[in-house]
Symmetry: C2
Subunit: 232 residues, 2 copies
C-alpha cells in the first residue's frame, strides 16, 4: 500500500546499482535502459519505470552516464551514509557473513559481534572480539547501532530479535528460517505490535526457503515466470 513504489522496484534498483559498479570497473561510461535490462534480466520498460519513480537520470537520445546513475542510485538507496551493524550469532554462518567481501563496501561497517557460546565469545573475527550478548544493551547505549544481522539458531531467533529491538536497532536482517513476530515473546498471541517494534524493518534472507522453492519450480517449471523474450 502507501505512496506506491513497488518493493520489487527496490530490489531491482539494487541490481542496477551492482551492474553500474561492474560497468564502471570495466571502464564503460555510458549505458541505456536496453543494456541495463539485458544485464538485469528484466524488460527495458521496467528499467525506465523503476528509475522514473525517483527522478530523471538519463538524457533522451543518449542514455545514462554510468557514474551519474550510480551516484543517484546510491543516494536513493541510502548508501551514501554510514551504517553501523552488529551481528548476533557467530557460528559458521555468522562468521561467513562477517567475512564476506563486499559487505564493507559503502559505509556498512560491523561494529560488534555477539554470541553466547563458550568457545565463541572472546574469539577474534574480522578484527573484532566476539562479545557475550549480555553486553549488547550496554554496547548499544555506548555505540550507535543502525541494524542487526540475526544468524542464531531458529529457536533462538525471536528472543535474539527482541534483544536487538530493545537495543534500538532500526532494522534486522534475519537469516534464521523463522517469521519474526513484532512483539515480545511473552506477549506472543496478543495481536498488538509491541511499542519497541514500531518502525523496525525486517528483511529475510532464508536459504532453506530458497532451496524448497527451487525444488518446487524444478517440478513445475511452467509456473515460473519466463524471462522477457525481448529486451526492447
Amino acid at each position: 500500500m502507501s505512496s506506491g513504489i513497488p518493493s520489487a522496484t527496490i530490489s531491482r534498483l539494487v541490481t542496477y546499482l551492482r551492474i553500474l559498479e561492474n560497468l564502471e570497473g570495466e571502464g564503460i561510461s555510458r549505458t541505456s535502459s536496453t543494456d541495463l535490462a539485458e544485464r538485469a534480466q528484466v524488460s527495458a520498460f521496467q528499467v525506465r519505470k523503476d528509475l522514473a519513480y525517483f527522478g530523471r537520470f538519463g538524457t533522451r537520445g543518449m542514455g545514462y552516464t554510468v557514474p551519474v546513475l550510480k551516484r543517484e542510485l546510491m543516494r536513493v538507496l541510502g548508501l551514501t551514509q554510514a551504517w553501523n551493524v552488529v551481528i548476533l550469532g557467530i557460528g559458521r554462518l555468522g562468521e561467513a557473513i562477517a567475512n564476506y567481501p563486499g559487505a564493507s563496501e559503502y559505509a556498512f561497517s560491523y561494529v560488534g559481534l555477539f554470541d553466547v557460546a563458550e568457545g565463541v565469545v572472546g574469539k577474534e573475527v574480522r578484527g573484532l572480539n566476539v562479545r557475550h550478548v549480555s553486553e549488547l544493551a550496554a554496547f548499544a547505549t555506548a555505540n550507535h547501532v543502525d541494524m542487526g544481522f540475526l544468524a542464531v539458531p531458529p529457536e533462538k531467533a525471536q528472543d535474539a530479535a527482541q534483544m536487538l529491538v530493545e537495543a534500538g536497532v532500526k532494522g534486522i536482517l534475519n537469516f534464521a528460517p523463522v517469521v519474526l513476530q513484532p512483539r515480545a515473546v511473552e506477549r506472543h498471541g496478543a495481536s498488538e505490535i509491541a511499542e519497541e517494534w514500531r518502525g523496525v524493518i525486517v528483511e529475510n534472507v532464508d536459504f532453506l526457503a530458497g532451496m524448497k522453492r527451487l525444488a518446487f519450480y524444478i517440478l513445475n517449471p511452467h509456473l515460473r515466470d519466463l524471462e522477457p523474450e525481448e529486451t526492447a
Copy 2:
C-alpha cells in the same frame, strides 16, 4: 504470466509448512487459517487463497489437521522425493551452507562439494571430501545431481553456473551477488538462451542485496508494506 499461481504464494507455502512442523513439534494437531495467518504474518484470506490453488485441505467449521496439511504441502512443494545437491565453492559461506542444520531435512542431500583452491580441495566437510571442479562433469555423469548451490566469488559465478548447467543440473541456488545469464559466457550479448539453459531454474539468495534493501527501508519506512492490521 502462465497458469497463474503467484510466486509469492510458493514462498508463503514454504512458510506455512515450517509453521506446521513447529506446531507438530509442540504436539498441536489442529490449526486454522487465522492461526496460520498470525504466525506467518499475513492475512487469513491470503492463507486460504494460497491453499486453494492446490486443493481442499481443511474441514469447514473445523480448520486444518496439522499432519494432514503438512503432508499435503510437502507433496505440493515436491519435498517427498529425494534431491541430490552439489555445492560449488567451499569457502566460508559454502562450508556454512553445507553444515547448516535443517538442509538435510526432507530428502535433500549433499552428494558432492567442489572448489578450486589448493587448501580446500581434499578437505573433509560434512563427511565429504571436497573435489576439484574439473571432476564435476564426470561426477555428474556417474551420480544423479538435481541441483547445484553456487557459493563462489561473484566474478566466477557465471562460469561456475555454466559448469553446473553443462553437468545437467535442473536448478541453481545462487548465493553470488550476480544476475546469472542463461547463456554461455563467450556467447554473452547474444540474446538467445543457450540450449543447455532451457528449463534450468535459478533462485537467488543474496544477502548483500537484502542489506541494501534494509538500508533503504530504514530511511523510507512508509514505503514498506505495513503488516496486516487485522488477521480476520
